[in-house]
Amino acid sequence: MMENAWLIPLFPLVSFVILLLFGKRLKEAGAYVGILMTLASLVFSILVLFERFSEPSYIQKFEWLKIGDVSLTAGFEVNQLNALMLFIVSLVSFLVHTYSKGYMHGDGRFPVFYAYLGLFTFAMLGLVISPNLLQTYMFWELVGLGSFLLIGFYFYKEEAKAAAKKAFIMTRIGDVGLFIGMILLFWKTGSFEYSEIFSAVEAGGISQTMITLTAILIFIGAVGKSGQFPLHTWLPDAMEGPTPVSALIHAATMVAAGVYLVATMFPLFAASKTALLTVATIGAFTAIFAASIGLVQTDIKRVLAYSTVSQLGYMMLALGSAGYVAGVFHLMTHAFFKALLFLAAGSVIHAVHTQNIEEMGGLWKKLKWTAPLFLIGTLAISGVPLLSGFFSKDEILVAAWEGGHPILFVLALIAAFMTAFYMFRLFFMVFTGEARGNQNHVHESPGSMTLPMLVLGVLAIISGYVNTPWFGSFLGDWLVDGNEKLGHGHMEGPIWIMIAATVVSLAGIYLAWLIYGKRSVSRNWLSGSGDTLHTILYNKYYVDEFYQMTVVAVTKGISYFLRFIDVFLVGGIVKGVVGFVQGLGATGSKLQNGQVQTYAAVAFVGLAILTVIFALTGGYLQ
């Protein structure tokens, strides 16, 4: 089966092509093409995953491009991480395809949406089976394209246009880091193949500085894709896309690609302490940074988006603390519960036609399926014991502690508290209390939307059990099998960590309940709207404004300066030369005054000058 893994990405590609060519004729029936094709991918992925449990990794490649004597290859590889990712991606993609059939119903560009989804899924699946850095990079960019297209799906909205543009450019900044890192690695190791890079790193042929440099450059790529600080600003804006897209791309799969990349390149990172520390620090900082913003946002999707950024920071923290398994584990659980949350949020939006949580409230009764599923997701992400998020978060905290980063550990803990708080704030505001907006036409979503949520809900609960302190660390052991450098399958940590995690998450929930559920505490007790802290958080620490004032302004400034040069200097020189020639012509023309005696005089003067020169130089110009 594994030798046919290359088919997995091809199915969605076929869907993309079919829908692009025949979308107009298929109309909404196009959804079936997409669903069927992703189902095929899912089935293949599951088969590959199960085969990989028992068989060794499989890699196959062929020559793609020859540069002199070096031949660059393309191909595919199935190892533990790839197989797992294949499964996650194709599963979430399949579910989102299904879900979208209901959600996008009635949209005029329905087939286009499915086509884009197909393209994205193709790219994402291609990314995870790439056997080398170059191919990874190529698909890396393609997923960016898919994301860009889907964010800008409502192209006629100015916000969507701006968001799409921003997403593309911000991630591209990161991509350039990856690009440079990749090329530097190539010249140091002579290959783009992961295996060869790692063996070269291991062999010690590369200086420590170069390892750190390349690792950090590659990490910059991950920062861009995974919305880590300081390149995080595009991700919340990306919520302008249709909600299923947010679930698929900006929660479960693409944004996790950064984590996946660091995980894939882990042996390189592991070789440099500095690089690891950088990853961990950025991750932890992002986790708390984004979480704090999430506390005050009022757009349901934006809260989720900041939560995503924060959770991705968690994963980075895990990887940076050498918690390979923890990172990947959280990636998986997060994919499920965050996709669930988004789909549920989409269902809510579908029902009430607004994204502002201030206008919601009291939906628990009206959305019989959505509300409980949303609660499951909220519990999972908050790290309430026995749900998936609890286990994976615990792993991360252990990794951070064991990795010797007490400060980062504390940060992570605070972030966990905040997460629980803002998620339940969201939950309470949306589903409990009085209806604050017009809810006349609210109705539960159709089955095609609730069923995928159901599947994810189940997974959000159970997926944590593949790697627990109690029932064995199956996932971890499998992931690191055959490669000790990735660390242990499960980290033994002090039990108080688990207790602490539970306590902070419950505390967060309790506080949220006090404020938004029971309303016994004023919403403004710490910092109300209009207060400095609130304003800063609400405006996301003014990072966007800061960029606008610095990077964008500088770029524009340089542009206008160069235009000045272009017009006045380059153009001026040209005008000067032309003017000089013209002036010469005018002078010559003026000399032609019609007086024949002048003409002869000129000739005579010419002769005289030549003669004088001849006389002075003793005869010859030498």
């Binding site: 491009l65 990079y137 006629y156 100015e158 450019i169 090329i183 160069l562 153009g571």
Partner: protein, 501 residues
């Protein structure tokens, strides 16, 4: 097997079209356009046949053709005559350029359907231009190269000056004078080489130059190379010799810009590679750092300026400058990756800019504007055109899976090995490219519609041919770059041999 006749025919076939057109009544618009289009086909078919010939493992040397042409009297009384032969030939590099030329020319002939007046003159000049371009890429000696090079100048002047937009005459003059200066410098180089060595055959010159006992001093060679750099720098164009091409891009009719941006600019790159790298490898090496810096300047300068343009054509014009910077970057690397990247960029940009300008033509035809703000929200009215526009922009900004990426990647790959810091600065261009292209393209296609697009047709009929063919080729090269790299192997090996390693 000697196929020299085929190559000669390939180059001269468009002239046959001119003859046919000469006998047609000048009011027969439809049939003139048809004949103009058909006349480009034989060359295209022959070019494709030549590619297949190579694909099937046969020798490209089969296409070489040599005839006696001009015998000059020797410079000194006792010297024999100097011969300039009519020599055409194909190497892998030339082959792909010929194919590119034939393809773009045929597509531009289709795009010429928007020409509103004096079709007869237009197509005659157009076909003359095609012969010139095909000749440039197949000429095996410098004089013949120069002949064809200048032949491209005159029809282009008229095509711009007569069928262009508002400031067409100014643009035509700008084109003529800059390129005239460029070719003048080139002529000096050619004639000095000719006078010193008695030959203009490129291959022979290469071997003469490689010979240390050649009758040229190092300083002279360096001077000649710098002159060559200026000559082709005008064409490419290299900052600060670029201002003419902005005017041309904006003022010329779209079909001509397709040719101009797609092929004529590439003559500069071709010349730098074939003559600069080929004949003056040592001098090239000496100036490699300078070239790399120039390349980065081009790349960033074009990108920054493209960022603030209001006219989409200007964006594309500066983008061409920027992209030609990548050619320089690749060449300056002077290793396999870099040079191959540069050549890829030549082809890739040829296809992409042809596509973009065709779309510009389509838009202009329907909306009478190419100002970004006037076109906002175009995707609503013309979704297919907008889609292709976006695809072309993506190709241009180097999205993997399309040709732009492969070339950009290889060029940078090459330079990072030689001058990592310069290359690192250059990568800034990758970001800027994305920024200005998205700004422009999204500004045109996305967002609120600023105008009624009712009654405006989307792409239709034959308009699909150029768009689809070009997109296909762009994707083909992006996905399967071996279609280009295979014919290039031999060329690259020769160049690397010349560089001594």
């Amino acid at each position: 097997m000697n196929l020299g006749w085929a190559l000669t025919l390939l180059v001269l076939f468009p002239l046959l079209g001119i003859v046919v057109l000469a006998f047609m009544p000048k009011t027969a618009e439809k049939s003139i356009k048809l004949v103009g289009f058909l006349a480009t086909l034989p060359s295209l078919l022959l070019a494709l046949a030549a590619y297949l010939h190579f694909k099937w493992g046969k020798d490209l040397a089969d296409f070489a053709v040599t005839h006696d042409w001009i015998q000059f009297r020797g410079m000194n009384a006792d010297e024999p005559y100097f011969s300039v032969n009519f020599e055409l030939g194909l190497s892998g590099f030339q082959l792909i350029l010929v194919v590119l030329t034939a393809v773009v020319a045929t597509l531009a002939a289709i795009a010429s359907k928007y020409v509103k007046k004096e079709w007869k003159g237009y197509y005659m000049l157009f076909l003359l231009l095609e012969t010139g371009m095909l000749g440039v890429f197949t000429a095996e000696n410098l004089i013949l190269f120069f002949l064809f090079f200048e032949i491209t100048l005159i029809p282009t002047f008229f095509l711009i000056g007569k069928w262009g937009y508002f400031e067409k005459e100014k643009a035509a003059y700008s084109f003529l004078i800059y390129n005239g200066l460029g070719s003048a410098v080139l002529l000096i180089v050619i004639m000095i080489l000719f006078a010193k060595t008695g030959t203009t055959n490129i291959e022979i010159l290469k071997s003469i130059m490689a010979d240390p006992s050649a009758p040229l001093s190092g300083d002279l060679k360096l001077g000649l190379f710098i002159a060559l750099l200026i000559a082709f720098g005008v064409k490419l164009p290299i900052f600060p010799l670029h201002s003419w091409m902005l005017k041309v891009h904006v003022q010329a009719p779209p079909a001509v810009v397709m040719i101009h941006s797609g092929i004529l600019l590439k003559i500069g790159a071709y010349g730098l590679i074939r003559f600069g790298l080929g004949i003056f490898p040592e001098q090239f090496e000496k100036l490699a750092t300078l070239l790399a810096i120039l390349g980065v300047i081009n790349l960033l300068y074009g990108a920054f300026l493209a960022f603030i343009q209001t006219d989409f054509k200007m964006v594309l014009a500066y983008s061409s400058i920027s992209h030609m910077g990548i050619v320089l970057i690749g060449l300056a690397a002077m290793n396999e990756a870099g040079v191959q990247g540069a050549i890829f960029q030549v082809i890739s940009h040829g296809l992409i800019s042809a596509l973009l300008f065709f779309l510009v033509g389509v838009l202009y035809e329907r909306t009478d504007t190419s100002l970004i703000e006037n076109l906002g929200g175009l995707a609503k009215g013309m979704p297919i055109a907008a889609g292709f526009l976006l695809a072309a922009a993506m190709a241009s900004l180097g999205l993997p899976g399309m040709s732009g990426f492969v070339s950009e990647f290889m060029a940078f790959l090459g330079l990072f090995n030689e001058l990592p810091w310069v290359a690192a600065v250059g990568t800034l261009g990758i970001i800027l490219t994305a920024a200005y292209l998205l700004r422009a393209v999204l500004g045109m296609t996305f967002g609120q519609a600023h105008r009624e697009f009712a009654g405006i047709m989307d792409l239709r009929g034959v308009e699909f041919i150029p768009v689809v063919v070009l997109t296909f080729l762009i994707v083909l090269i992006g996905v399967y770059p071996s279609v280009l790299s295979a014919p290039l192997q031999a060329t690259l090996e020769t160049i690397m041999l010349g560089l001594g390693g």
